[in-house]
Every structure is written in C-alpha cells, then in structure tokens.
Amino acid sequence: MKEISFEEKIKKIESIVEILENGEEPIEKMLSNYNQGIKLINECRDYINAAELKFIDISKQNNLD
C-alpha cells in the first residue's frame, strides 16, 4: 500500500471518528475502523515527535546539482 501523507492521515482520522460516532456500520467493520484510526493517530504522533523545522535553501540545492 502506498504511504499516505500526514495531511491525508489527519483527514482519514477525521472521517473514521465520524463513522464511529454515527455507529451505523456492522460491529466488525467498526472494530477494524477503530483499529485503523488508533494506528493512524499513533503514526501521526510519532511523526510529530520526530519532526523539526526543515529549512532547505533552493539556491544551494541548485548549486550542488
């Protein structure tokens, strides 16, 4: 499966919470949604913990090429 971006993960989490709160799906589906949601939340937290401001100077990058 393709790795999805942080922003897409946030969107996915939003939609999963909505599905869970609506509570209209069968329980198996709800549980798999729940597991996926928690997994994504943990991935986002890991990402945030690992992230620090990246600063890329394009002119230097171009000179290196």
């Binding site: 999963i16 869970l20 709800m30 729940y34 990402y47 600063f55 890329i56 394009i58």
Partner: protein, 390 residues
Amino acid sequence: MFTISEITGKIKNILEEEFDGIELTGEISNYKHHSSGHKYFVLKDNNAQIGAVMWKGVRLNFIPKDGMKVIVKGSIDVYPPQGKYQVNCKTMVPAGEGDLYLAFEALKKKLTEKSYFEIEHKKKLPNFPLKVGISTSPTGAAIQDMIKTIGRRNSLITIYFRPTLVQGEGSAEDITKAIAELNKIDCNVIIIGRGGGSIEDLWSYNTEIVADAIYNSKIPIISAVGHESDFTIADFVADYRASTPTAAAELVSSITVEEINTFLGQSADRSTRSIKRLIDIQKEYLGTNLEKKFQKLIINELNNYKQSLDHNENYINNYFGSYISLLKEKSKSLYLQLKANDPLSPLNKGYALLMSENKFIDKNTSLTKFDEIKIIRKNEEILVNIKENL
C-alpha cells in the same frame, strides 16, 4: 569641402563617441508606444527638448506617461537620413516619488482592466500547508522572523527558501524567477516578501513582470511586502496579502503542533468512547433482548406441543369411546343370541335334557347304547334305567 553625408558622418562619430553612457533626467512628453514595440517620445525641461527612443526588447518596470519625470541611461544616436539626433534609452526609471506614484497608478489601472485583482482569480490558501516556499532577501530580518515564527508554531513545516534580490537593478526579474522556481518544487503555498523601505526600495513589487508572475503562479501566493501601511501591486495581485513577513508566517502556520496534538488526543478519545458504547449496546442486546426473545420462543414452542398433545388426547378418547360402545352393543346382541340358543331354555317349557356320563346326548346317538341315562328337567334330575329297546 564636405558633402552632406561626410559632415553628417563626422557629427555622428563625434556625438556618439562623446555621449556614450550618459545619464540624463527630463520630463516625458508626446509618448508613443508604436505597434512595432519601439517607444518614441520627447524628453524636455523648461528650456530645451530632445527626441528619445527606446527600442523594442528593453524592459521597463513601469508604464511611462506624459508629464512623468524620468531618469534615463543611454547614448546619443544620429540618424543621417533626417539629420536628427536623439537619445537611445537603455534604461528608464521614474525620477521622483511623485512620478513613481503616477507609474504605480498607471499599472494599477492597466491590471484592473485586465481583471488581475478580481476575487475569482484568487486561489484558496491551504488549511494545512506542510511545504512553504519563501522568496525574500537572505540578509534581511524578514527571513529570520519567518523561520522563527514558523518553527515555533508548526515544526512539521518544511521551508523552501529561495534567496532573492528584493531591490535595485535586476530585482524584479529575480523575484519573477523565484516564483517560477518555487512553483517547480510543488510547495503548498509561497510567501514573497521583504522588510519595509521607501517606495523606490519596494519598486520591484510594483512592476508588471512581477504582477504577471504572481497572477500566473499555480501555487497560492501570500504577499508580505514592507510594513502594514505599504501597499504594492504585488499585494493586490497576490491571493492573500499579509501586512508583514511575520504575519505571513503566522498565516501559513495557522494550525500549530499543539492544536494537531489536541486533535489527535480528542480523536482517540472519541473513537474509544464510540467503540465502547457500541460494544455495550451489543452486550446488552445479547444479555437481555436476545435472552428474552429466546425464552419467549421456547415457551411458545412448548405451548404448541401441549396444545397438540391435548388435541391428540381428545381424539384418542373419542375414538376409544365409540369403539367401546360398539363393543358393548355387539356383546349385547351376542348375549341375546346366546341366550336364545341356551340349551337349558327349553327346560322352562317342560322339555328335558338327556345326559350320560356327564355329557349331553345329541340327536344322532341312540339311547340303546346306554344302560342308564340322566334326565334333567327344570326342577329335577333323575337317573333312569333303559329296560328294553322297542
């Protein structure tokens, strides 16, 4: 003696050699932008005037107007067929603040007519940009302020910095190139900006090429030029105007890491609450509802059985009842039949039975065989001897 051509050639040589690379100031009049792309006009002051030409391909950072004071750099050209001399302008800039203001208004009017400032051309800023392109001077305070602000609020962001000439010769072209390069990087949003300065310092942001570059950018652009009170053409064309570079940095990091963390925590809580509630509902359903349903079903089933048993019982009873009465009926008639054939019944009428050795003597047996027989009558039994066979 000179021919006209000879003297004109000599004048041409002298003038063009003497007045190469001159700088002069004057007021524009009779400005004509020819369809060929060349621009013809007159430069004058109170007492004199000189013809001027700017050949096609020379970049202008403003739209010249009659009455505008300008500074031009160039040389004197002589045009022998007409015996005329004129200034060949290589560069031209407005001379004073008032003239810059006129140029600013002229470009604003032109771009308004081209509907560059219309709201439908504005691109929406992303809610949650993670790649931010910045074009500004590498030496000013603006870049430091922006890095600090973004880093403090949202460390998830990657800044793509394109050091850019923000004033002086070639700066408008460099800003244009910076916008194109940042477009290639696939940023979510671009900030073009610089710190405050005079109208001359900010002039590149009032040029048509920069306006075109902003207008044609595929990526939304935030313009943050100078101080809050400074307005440039770039501000009008950009998708969003921030009053200062710091304000632009705050805008692109409008969602902070703390807010994302809060969102993640809330999402986890809400998910867990929802799934727990769902499980509780399922449990309750199993525990009470289903159990009750089962019980009800079983009781129903048992009742059905009972009913069918009762029904069978009745049937059996009925059946046996009639069978028994039939039997009764039958036995009664048998009894009557038997009674009618009772061998003792003739005794009532006075007949007698004959027995020998405890057996009845039937009609085919001759009494001659016996010495002695028993005669049975209704009320007496006697033994008789057989005397003689007649």
